[in-house]
Amino acid sequence: MITRRSLLKGSAATGLTVAAGGLAAPAIAQDAKIRLGYVSPQSGPLAAFSEADQFIIDGFLGSDAGANFEVIVKDSQSNPNRAAEVAKELILDDEIDMMLVSSTPETTNPVATTCEAEEIPVISTVAPWQPWFIGQQGDPGTWEPFDYSFHFFWGLEDVISVFTAMWNQLDTNKQVGALFPNDGDGNAWGDPTVGFPPVLDAQGYALTDTGRYQNLTDDFSAQINAFKAASTEIVTGVPIPPDFTTFWTQAKQQGFTPKAASIGKAILFPQAVEALGDQGHNLSSEVWWSPNHPFNSSLSGQSAGELAQAYSAATGRQWTQPIGFVHALFEMAADVMGRTGDTGDADAVAEAIAASQVESIVGRIAFDGAGLPPFAARNVAKTPLVGGQWRLKDSGGYDLVIVDNSDHPDVPTGGTMEPIL
């Protein structure tokens, strides 16, 4: 919305830019650094995604390519409105050349929408591409490619494929129970046309979907009773961590133990699995990045394993999956700006992004439309997705072991799927 105040503020800022630009631009342009804006949820409920940000940015600025950049970091506070607001600040006040944004549609979408409107190139990641693309476009009749927004990650079709491949490794009765909450993820996963139901149907799995429950539910006995009644041997879903802990604890109390539990989101971070005590053994999840992925950084030459180790050494914490993707975001920035003649020209930068062929630490990133429907081909690049199981270590704590790579055989497996006992 344009209010009198924001209009005045906006025109004052642009007025100043023009004035300053006219006088000083030729003199500074020679040694000015390229300005990158970076938005991520550093506080609030999504903050776990951003724990490695500072480590990655320090590493980027310390690298040879990074010396040409200035990174201005803003916190979305896990709030979509705040994310749009700081994006605006970065564009108007800090006059960034390119925006980077990561972690969940709640952060990537408002920032990308703002950038698209302000004609600033933006690269985003760590959100499945459907909520990113469809979430910004709305009605399918009006879908059209973005001019300045680009996104690399995997999609819902990859999770479905990975999960069913993992279940196919086990001998089960093909009865699946679903925990789909009433939020963006849950509704997408449970969608009767693009979600799990049609694929499971085609592969001969029967789905017990009890409906969309509210997040932070304290009791799951209704779902457990329904799963028991259908003699479910597989559980899947995309609950938030506290809900999965409540569900899993209650299921054990009521004597319900499925052979496989493939859960998105809730058991992404090792801390969340450790919260289950010794009850997290052999829970399975989608894996977007791990220290065993056979990729190297185009910035530092580090392998995935070396990056994870450097993170653990610097912070004393276990690696998490977003580390690789935040690192890849800055790889993209360095690569794109290295190929752009005039880094201040938004159209030239957007063109360079679209032409990217980056061998990054999360795999190859190229906007060539591979594995994507035509409407998303220009703006989305897909990265590999495999399946993993959390295994309890003898020394305590959990390791994520990759057990299925049928979609991406170049990522090595560390074992095969084991049933939960």
Binding site: S43, G44, P45, L46, A47, A48, E51, N182, T210, G211, R212, Y213, Q214, L216, T217, D218, D219, S221, A222, Q223, N225, P241, P242, D243, T245, T246, T249, Q250, K252, Q253, Q254, G255, F269, Q271, A272, E274, A275, L276, G277, Q279
Partner: protein
């Protein structure tokens, strides 16, 4: 048989809500202070217990015992030096201050403990259950319920059998007259908040054992506590327990019909009670 199980699980869940609500009920009953930071104080308690467990290697139940006097001191100090200054004819200042406190606690915890979701270390007890007839009732929910009943019984004894309880009731009825009788409302209030935070510690223990917690989870836990207090009738402790049970049972029964209705059913039960008994089930004589 599923219906019996559903109601039993709902009653046990009600125990958890009553435990979350008891401290709130106590503070509201005595000084008409709506503490919007109550949920965050439960999370603070959970982190304190976690800290004691990891630093001193205590089992969670013992750590909660150690945490109780610390939490009492926190509550006493908070009331004495901050909240007492906000009490008066205007109901807005305490609301604003406790709302602010809620944000302060959340961000202080985020700074100190990061956003990782945490849980108190669990053992076999967490997933243990006892078979009663055809029902499998979890040991942990049973303990939670028993603790809620014990807390309510304990508070009632305190209120009606001790001189401190007499002072509580007197101050609650008429602080001016009570102070004519030599009672200092300010220090009575401080003691009451201290006791409320001891109950908060018990709630924190079960919150931490039951599921994950993180710095931002407090406010979500507050809403059911509020509803339990209001359904039960302001100032009535047994009412709070019954209010918790009504919400818990409404939720599980709603969920048994359709899981999409679980949370909604709790809220509807709350509205239905208010419609029939606007002042709650057991309101005190005159407020």
């Amino acid at each position: 048989m599923i219906w019996v199980d559903t109601v039993a699980q709902g009653i046990l869940l009600g125990g958890l809500y009553a435990l979350f609500a008891a401290g709130l009920s106590l503070v509201f009953g005595i000084m008409r202070l709506v503490n919007l930071a109550h949920g965050d104080l439960i999370v603070v308690g959970a982190y304190l217990i976690l800290l004691l467990v990891t630093l001193l290697g205590l089992p969670p139940f013992l750590a909660a015992l150690v945490a109780m006097p610390l939490m009492f001191a926190l509550g006493w100090g908070l009331q004495k030096f901050l909240l007492n200054r906000t009490l008066g004819d205007d109901i807005l200042p305490p609301l604003l201050v406790t709302f602010g406190l809620s944000i302060v606690f959340q961000n202080a915890l985020l700074e100190g403990f990061s956003a990782d979701s945490q849980r108190l270390p669990t053992d076999a007890l967490t997933t243990a259950s006892v078979a009663i007839g055809p029902l499998n009732l979890g040991v942990m929910p049973l303990l939670t319920f028993a603790s809620a009943v014990a807390v309510i019984v304990g508070l009632n004894q305190l209120f009606y059998r001790t001189s401190l309880g007499r002072a509580f009731r007197a101050t609650s009825d008429d602080p001016v007259t009570a102070s004519l009788m030599g009672i200092k409302p300010a220090s009575i209030f401080a003691t009451a908040t201290g006791i409320a935070l001891i109950i908060v510690t018990i709630a924190a223990l079960y919150l931490g054992l039951r599921a994950n917690f993180d710095p931002n989870i407090g406010p979500a836990r507050l809403i059911y506590a509020f509803e339990a207090v209001i359904i039960g009738g302001l100032g009535s402790l047994w009412g709070t327990l019954l209010g918790g049970i009504i919400i818990g049972v409404a939720q599980t029964v709603g969920a048994a019909i359709n899981p999409e209705w679980q949370i909604l059913a709790g809220h509807l039960a709350f509205l239905a009670v208010l419609l029939v008994r606007p002042r709650g089930l057991f309101p005190r004589a005159n407020d």
